[in-house]
């Protein structure tokens, strides 16, 4: 018998626990020639803002040991474009669409939430209060528990859509931000966004990235991300989407055993467009191999060792 893979993330029904990390999968068509999008548990699309954003100057990416630093700066065509052009494409597939939203102000988040509430085909919101690559908003909200709560309250006050809050590891206590987000009404949490980092070109004697600092992702950050999931799972009763350096099924299982109900594959898509499918197949194989009937049996299992 095949194990049950379906999970519910704060009201979003996913047929399996594998989704994409925002900003690593575009709006879907970018990877449609490599995988069957219908097999994804959900898609979390590229971060969307009220107005189009140009993004940061180049270079926007640099490789680091087992990771990358990016400073895209939330380049995106704006929420209206997303609704008119990107969403209709995704409606051809049988998968929940989770829209990652970012704002410069609390009011921006509320407006985005209200706009997306009106649209058919949006299964939920991922509230990005943790982007390290923008001057206003972003990490500013995510690094202070009270500000995070304020954004969550504004979003929850503007929409009935399930609201997932994406948290930053660039804080003293991620648990505190998670607790405040939960109190403010968050339905689920995404852990973690990128770690703030930088690289210097020693030949040219200057920072590599056009924006100087960027967000570190990839296998290098996985231990930090697993730790964050572990800590938050113990203290906060919200479903968690775990992410940060997942390349293989084994990586994803670390997150699930630490307490994540679902996982998102990010940077790995860049090197292996089929990474999400390999992670999904590997999770299923693991459940069969160890005799589990349902993915839920292993969520947080490492805490019960």
């Amino acid at each position: 018998m095949k194990p049950k893979l379906a999970v519910n993330i704060g009201g979003i029904n996913m047929k399996n626990p594998v989704t994409t990390a925002s900003g690593t999968f575009g709006f879907g068509p970018e990877y449609a020639s490599y995988i069957d999008l219908n097999r994804l548990g959900a898609i979390v699309v590229k971060g969307t803002t009220l107005k189009p954003r140009q993004g940061n100057p180049t270079p926007r990416i640099v490789e680091t040991p087992a990771g990358i630093l990016n400073a895209i700066g939330l380049q995106n065509p704006g929420v209206d474009y997303f609704i008119e052009k990107a969403l209709p494409y995704l409606s051809n597939f049988d998968l929940p669409v989770i829209v990652n939203i970012s704002g410069d102000t609390v009011a921006d988040y509320a407006k985005l939430a209200a706009k997306l509430e009106q649209v058919e085909g949006v299964a939920g919101l991922e509230v990005n209060i943790s982007c390290p690559n923008v001057k206003k908003g972003g990490l500013q909200f995510g690094s202070d528990p009270e500000s995070a709560a304020e954004v969550v309250r504004a979003v929850k006050g503007s929409t009935n859509l399930p609201t997932i809050v994406k948290l930053s590891p660039n804080v003293t206590s991620i648990v505190k931000v998670a607790e405040k987000s939960a109190e403010a009404g968050a339905d689920a949490l995404s852990l973690i966004n990128t770690l703030l980092g930088m690289a210097i070109d020693v030949k040219r004697c200057r920072p590599v990235l056009g924006n100087v600092m960027g967000g570190l992702s990839g296998p290098a950050v996985r231990p930090v991300a697993v730790r964050a999931v572990w800590q938050v799972y113990k203290e906060v009763e919200l479903p968690i989407i775990g992410m940060g350096g997942i390349v293989t099924a084994e990586d994803a299982l670390e997150f699930i055993l630490a307490g994540a109900s679902a996982v998102a594959v990010g940077t790995a898509n860049f090197i292996n467009p089929r990474a999400t499918m390999e992670v999904l197949d590997g999770i299923e194989d693991y459940l069969i191999q160890y005799g589990y009937n349902d993915i839920k049996e292993i969520v947080g299992a490492a805490h019960r060792r």
Binding site: G23, T24, F25, G26, E30, Y31, S33, Y34, K46, Q54, G55, T58, P59, R60, I61, V62, E63, P65, A66, G67, I68, N70, I72, Q75, G218, P219, V247, T267, N269, F270, I271, N272, P273, R274
Partner: protein, 266 residues
Amino acid sequence: MSLIIDAEVIEHEQVGPDFYRLKLLAPEILKNAVPGQFVHVRVSQSLEPLLRRPISIHNVNREKGQLMLLYQVVGRGTAVLTRAKPGQSLNLLGPLGRGFTLPAESQKVVVVAGGIGVAPLIYLLQELALNSISAAVYLGARSKEYLLAVKEISSLGFTPFLATDDGSEGYHGPVTSMLEKDLAKQPVDIVYSCGPFPMLKSLAKILMNYNIPFEVSLEERMGCGVGACLSCACKIKSAGEAGYVYRHVCVDGPVFSGQEVAWDEA
């Protein structure tokens, strides 16, 4: 349609100071490829280096299903790639990106290459030769040993005009200056080019003076190669406030119309 495949290494040789030529068996990728497109190569099975490396298709052998890559060792990724041995396979995504627009038979064509920028232009010349289109080829490099693919250009039936910065071969000076002198003497309908950005910028200035259409292949640090990560941004002219918008080398290029690139903003 782009694919992800494991391609067998057929041959791999060093052809210059930092330059290597890699022949791969990849008939599936060849089927849809056009000059100017690239493949995204996973240089290692391990996660270090992590990212793929975008390398333009240098030339193709359709009968044998082989494609050739000409690359320069510039960092860790390409250094690792030099170790690939015949018989081994390399994981490729491709063909990716937007290639060159082929000219009409009657058009007077000029091809300008700078250094390793010659790489995608050989495939273009191959297609031109196949369609009996003649072209004047200008090839520049910093010195003699950096002039690449001279033999290939000749064997395709083109006679390259050579230029070196140090005068060790051909014209002494920038390849664009050599071209500029010739432009005054004869009409040109279209120019195709690839090379370092400063060379392309100076070429653009010259060609826009003469009002000659041109296509350029651009480079920028790339992540995914498929338009998802938005890393490889380049500035394209726009009527908006900033005077430019960002487009992406991986999917909107690497080949762009020279007129649309915001040269002065870069």
